[in-house]
Symmetry: C2
């Protein structure tokens, strides 16, 4: 990679703040990316996404290839223009969706053949096709096409899958000619030796950034936290580090503390549609009858449109009446909650007060911090990954 | 009525502009009211409703009594506060919903007994209960509880129904003690003599405004236009005149020309959700495949958020993908189309150029004006209604 657009701006232990200078704008890290599967963060306009604090949106290549198709989006100049976002976009490779959605999937050295979940038509996706697709989408960050290792997997299965992903990563690296940065994805299941080999192989290929993939697929939280704490430090400090598909506010606080920079998850948006609202003191399940006449805002400390202008009773009513405004207002709030969390984390790291921030985060939720990051069980050997 | 808050500001033939000074704000007429059935104009925030040009929203008493219930809304200080609208609200009486939604409806002199369409529980609605409900909702304009005459109806049926509505109107007039204006509703089916008797009886009761009800229920357009043209002039000039549940842009242009002031209809909002978009040159059915790659705005002359920021291709994609943002963006556009139409009508009347406006309205849509307003068939006797 000739261009290294990531600048580390501050540190507090393994955690860091930084800035990504991308084709469509700047992104301060640590950053959370809302998921805009079909070219829309469900229910929200671009100004609302921006008001939440988000500066980069994730688009799903697999879904966008299906609808509206690459030609239409390329005709608009990219996903960001198509969805009136006009800001940074990260696209996944389509690999995870093929893995999780497509029937009759067959993996070969060339790529994956599968049947379209929409019309059953045979389709193929390869590293080269994924790179071409992400080029047409004009994303600021493109991801390598990888094989997603299932959980659980034996060491042998995880090893073969990781090795295939590595060979595909080399083909992606050679083929990608889009306007964005290409990120490698560390695979290897829950096996530290495989993860180390994957990271080593990817770093040798010199990607624009590095992601941890194949996590948050059903493994215990402690395993996720262990791997993140051990892997983050071995990823190059001069590139952004992206933890894919994670997670809860607790997951993000933990992973930021370990040195990760970028996150995406459907949790704030999907939970909003189901009436689960994040607040500084815990989750408010707004459909509970206890909120039917509650005239307080969802979170009195929140400055989002929803909290400034509506009551819990109104949100309760909208959700119970299945009014789409309910999903929208809840999504505005949840994304603002995530946005504020990232602002708080960035400020805490800049001020070298992350530990204080994390303590206060758990105290306000009446929870104890998870065992992680050096607090591993005594009987578990603390190994350091070396490449 | 001690307070007459309607001021006529301009005239052009039977058409007029005016201003309603209501409890929660001013409404310039002619005005269109978006329908906010359950305390939400589906998908839209209050600022978006306002940006469309709408200044009064219609709430459905029957639905709001069911969900969230009067107590919750009264606790918020009224529908306008509950839904964060903080502007004028007109509520219907619940009569039309009981008529059209409720099973096993029984009408007696006292009122209507029916089974809740939600849980089948027996319910009753009377003029007095409707007045109490609309008082709890704190609407700026409340409507009398009336019996909706079905279409078609014999003269005898329509007469009995109209007479019952008139007796109920007197009970409403005596009972209403809310913060708003109470409007009478002229009934009588398609029979001009019954409509005249209804208007006469209501005017004797001295309401804050007068509505034409029981129209747009399946009768031919020519019948609607004929009745509106004949009835508008007999309604007091110093009170607002409201044509309930109407209608298409053509209907509104015709009724404004006849002297009507207020309108409500689900058409712009419901059609938006189904992908029918109103434009200055006619309807755009955005789900048609011809728009799949169309990078133009829906209506290049429209200044709404949707037209300023998105393409037909994006709206097509959102509607085909069933993304709720598609319904929202289409609703923003359609309500702005209606809002702009009312602005145009008010300006044309003020400038005494309504005929020119109507000609241009039809010309841009490549349509001929409907036969109405003095252009009745030669073999039909042109009678003038006298009270």
């Amino acid at each position: 990679m000739s261009r290294i657009p990531f600048t580390e701006l501050g540190r507090d232990g393994p955690a860091r703040t930084g800035r990504l200078a991308l084709a469509h704008g700047l992104v301060d890290t640590p950053a959370f990316m809302p998921v805009g599967t079909y070219g829309a963060v469900k229910g929200l306009s671009a100004p609302e996404i921006r008001a939440s604090g988000a500066r980069m949106v994730l688009g799903n290549t697999f879904h966008l290839m299906d609808r509206p198709g690459l030609e239409v989006i390329a005709g608009h100049g990219g996903v960001d223009q198509f969805m009136d976002w006009s800001g940074p976009i990260l696209t996944d490779s389509g690999g995870f969706q093929v893995f999780s959605l497509a029937a009759l999937r067959t993996v070969t050295e060339t790529g994956v053949t599968f049947r379209s979940p929409r019309d059953g038509a045979p389709r193929v996706l390869t590293p080269e096709l994924s790179m071409a697709a992400q080029t047409a989408l004009a994303s600021d960050i493109a991801m390598v096409f990888d094989d997603c290792t299932p959980y659980p997997a034996s060491h042998e299965e995880a090893c073969a899958s990781m090795a295939l992903s590595l060979r595909w990563a080399a083909r992606c690296r050679a083929h990608y000619a889009g306007p964005g940065l290409l990120f490698g994805i560390v695979q290897g299941g829950l096996y530290e030796d495989l993860r180390a080999r994957s990271a080593e192989g990817l770093i040798a290929l010199d990607f624009g950034g590095y992601a941890l993939g194949g996590l948050s697929v059903g493994e215990p939280k402690a395993e996720l936290y262990r791997l993140v704490a051990r892997l983050a430090p071995v990823l190059p400090a001069d590139r952004a580090r992206y933890l894919m598909g994670v997670g809860t506010p607790e997951d993000i606080v933990t992973a930021v503390s370990a040195g990760m920079d970028l996150f995406d998850c459907v949790l704030p948006t999907r939970n909003a549609r189901n009436g689960w609202l994040f607040t500084r003191t815990g989750v408010v399940k707004i459909r509970n009858s206890g909120y039917a006449a509650d005239r307080r805002p969802v979170d009195p400390e929140c400055g989002c449109y929803t909290c400034r202008n509506t009551t819990r009773a109104y949100l309760h009513h909208l959700q119970k009446s299945r009014e789409m405004l309910g999903a929208r207002l809840a999504t505005v709030h949840n994304l603002t909650y995530y946005g504020d969390l990232m602002v708080g984390l960035r400020a805490a790291i800049s001020a070298a007060r992350l530990e204080e921030f994390v303590d206060s985060f758990y105290r306000s939720r009446h929870k104890r911090p998870p065992r992680a990051l050096g607090e591993l069980p005594e009987d578990e050997p603390v190994t350091t990954i070396t490449l």
